[in-house]
């Protein structure tokens, strides 16, 4: 099929949101059956993109497990509230490998708001960065 080879050479994406998280003091659970578990509570934040923007509600967090190979396994869940009042449940798993400057996530979204139902039907990839005022994730929709 024409065009298929080009599609195999790359994956198309487009910007979805930039997510800024505010976190409070880490809760160190310590050694668990999978590794050392730290919980980063999310106390707030904001997100902005062409199709949605708003704030992050307090109450979520990122459950971060230290792997034996020095990488971290991420498991985040937060609630986003858009500027027009819709609630969006967002989760991601991901990898943080500081030695290789690799911090990538696979976000998923669930919402009941018809306006944002497109989020229920897409997969996404995030690039994370730890900044002094908290983590920032640049999230792209996989087309």
């Amino acid at each position: 099929m024409p065009g298929l080879q080009e599609e195999r050479d790359s994956v198309n994406s487009r910007p979805l949101i930039i997510l800024r998280l505010a976190t409070s003091a880490t809760e160190e659970i310590g050694s668990t059956r999978h590794g050392n578990l730290s919980i980063f509570p999310v106390t707030g934040g904001s997100f902005e993109g062409e199709r949605l923007r708003g704030k992050v509600l307090a109450g979520g967090g990122d459950w971060v497990t230290a792997n034996a190979d020095g990488t971290f396994e991420l498991d985040l869940r937060v609630t986003l509230e858009t500027d027009d009042g819709a609630l969006i449940h967002m989760t991601f798993t991901g990898v943080r490998d500081d030695a290789n400057h690799y911090f990538r996530t696979l976000p998923r979204f669930e919402t009941a708001a018809p306006k944002y139902a497109f989020l229920n039907r897409l997969l996404a990839v995030g690039t994370g960065e730890i900044r002094p005022d908290g983590p920032v994730h640049v999230i792209e929709e996989i087309l």
């Binding site: 790359s10 990488t71 990898v95 690799y102 990538r104 696979l106 897409l122 996989i142």
Partner: protein, 150 residues
């Protein structure tokens, strides 16, 4: 988003086990009976035991996929791959796929997000990456073009 080709994965599926209406949708589970994969850095075959795709057709018409597959490289390493995915598209396209017809994969959305686990040092890089895949549903089973997210 920067990516590079990790592999093409062909899986062969058997007749699905129709679990039926469950609380979150309609569940069916096609076991995988084989397949192969090939890419610049790894190649091999799909082991049939313990590999299947746990499918859930949601009320909004989106098919959620939860693929678990064991890959065996040509030099004997075992790699566990799990990928969550979504498939949806125009009703007529989804119906054609249901009838086992080959349709242009650009006419529907079939994307997955593979993660890998292995104990083999030669393939340890797989433990440290996330990937995205584009699927092409064929009658004998899907073909996944899997890219590493750089």
């Amino acid at each position: 988003m920067n990516t590079r080709l990790l592999m093409m994965l062909h899986v062969k599926v058997a007749t699905p086990q129709n679990i039926g209406a469950v609380p979150h949708g309609t569940r069916r589970t096609p076991p995988l009976i084989g397949g192969d994969f090939e890419g610049p850095r790894l190649r091999g075959t799909v082991l049939p035991g313990g590999s299947a795709d746990w499918l859930l057709l949601r009320a909004d018409g989106v098919l959620e996929m939860d693929l678990r597959v064991t890959l065996q490289t040509d030099d004997g390493a075992l790699i566990s791959m799990k990928s969550f995915g979504l498939r949806h598209g125009p009703p007529e396209v989804m119906a054609a796929i249901g009838r086992g017809e080959t349709v242009d994969p650009r006419t529907y959305y079939f994307r997955t997000t593979p993660r890998f686990e292995t104990a083999h040092p030669a393939y340890a890089f797989l433990n440290r990456l996330v990937a995205v895949a584009t699927g092409d549903r064929r009658a004998e089973g899907p073909i996944y073009t899997i890219h590493e997210v750089l």
